[in-house]
């Protein structure tokens, strides 16, 4: 009986699809724009990851490109690199094709991996709903990757100079101090993830 309840509870927790804060995130193996295959397990020294589902075409994603570069430049060395993943089906948005990802990354000078979720299997597992959508993962002593924050990058997509709350970097700063992030969930307007 207890087992049945636990199974039902586990099922219900996943019914909405995707992770909540506190869940263990799974690794993946996705193709990077440089042609290599990237997994989180490749990063022995990382303390965690700033996984950002984003893409080429979405104006909200575009609005954050510079800020994502800045975040990676500051936090990669501190142990929390940015891992960007394009979850969109390029048949629906040719601008989000692998070739165009390479172009965009070169034009903007991305300093982080920009991976293609070609089979569209990673984003539903994480529960990404829009672009950009951030999942901050913290690597625990046993190697487990635990989700510590889900949501927006900051509180002003349209004007970086007017940002008051830097949600993601605040959360990483908390982890660097060995604390839990104060804000663990935020929402933002974004583009739907395109799938057939």
């Amino acid at each position: 009986m207890l087992i049945a309840v636990l199974i039902v509870a586990a099922f219900m927790a996943n019914a909405g699809g995707g992770y909540d804060v506190g869940d263990k995130a799974s690794d993946f193996k996705l193709k990077n724009i440089d042609g290599t295959w990237v997994s989180l397990s490749d990063y022995d020294d990382a303390k965690g990851f700033i996984v950002i589902f984003t893409c080429n075409h979405c104006p909200y994603s575009k609005a954050y490109e510079e800020r994502i570069i800045d975040i990676n430049n500051e936090y990669e060395d501190k142990g929390y690199p940015v891992i960007a993943i394009n979850p969109n089906d390029p048949d629906l948005y040719p601008e989000d094709s692998f070739e165009n990802m390479k172009k965009r990354a070169e034009e903007k000078g991305f300093t982080f991996p920009y991976l293609f979720d070609a089979k569209q299997e990673v984003y539903p597992k994480y529960g990404a709903k829009r672009t950009p959508h951030v999942f901050l993962l913290d690597k625990k002593q046993d190697g487990d990757l635990i989700v510590e924050y889900i949501g927006a990058i900051d509180d002003n997509y349209s004007d970086a100079s007017k940002v008051e709350k830097t949600y993601v970097t605040d959360a990483v700063d908390a982890l660097l101090k060995g604390k839990k992030p104060e804000t663990t969930h935020t929402k933002a307007i974004g583009c739907t993830i395109k799938h057939k």
Partner: protein, 160 residues
Amino acid sequence: MRKFVGIVLFAVLLIPIASHAGEVPKMDFDRFETYLHKKNDTTYVINFWATWCKPCVKEMPVFETVYEKYRNQKVKIILVSLDLPNQLESKVIPFIKKRNLKPEVLLLDDPDANAWINKVDPRWSGAIPATVVYNHKQDFRKFHEGKITLKELETYLNQN
């Protein structure tokens, strides 16, 4: 006198044609929030969209059709643009003019979306399109994230 009446009549006829494309009010969420809680017997269809959002543009005919079909009933459509505020003149208004878009359009200019998305509906992830349908008198409220079909929207409209 007849000429005067003619001019007045012409002017009155002109108002509804000119009103939409010319004026798209920009507002923050505090001002917009009243649209989500009108306490009367009209059914409100509130759609969040943007000119750059392909699925939003694709579903626009649904709202145009409903606007025409229910124009003599207590149904009001409000198209809430989430375009960048500085693109109102360059993108939103030309879009309205080109399509001859009839339903009311407003631009929600409030970048701190985390502060207001849950006030629209706690189930909303923030992805657009998204649509709220409600009728205060009937105590009816529906939220729909993603593209809506004419059939789905009419099901909501006919439920109350």
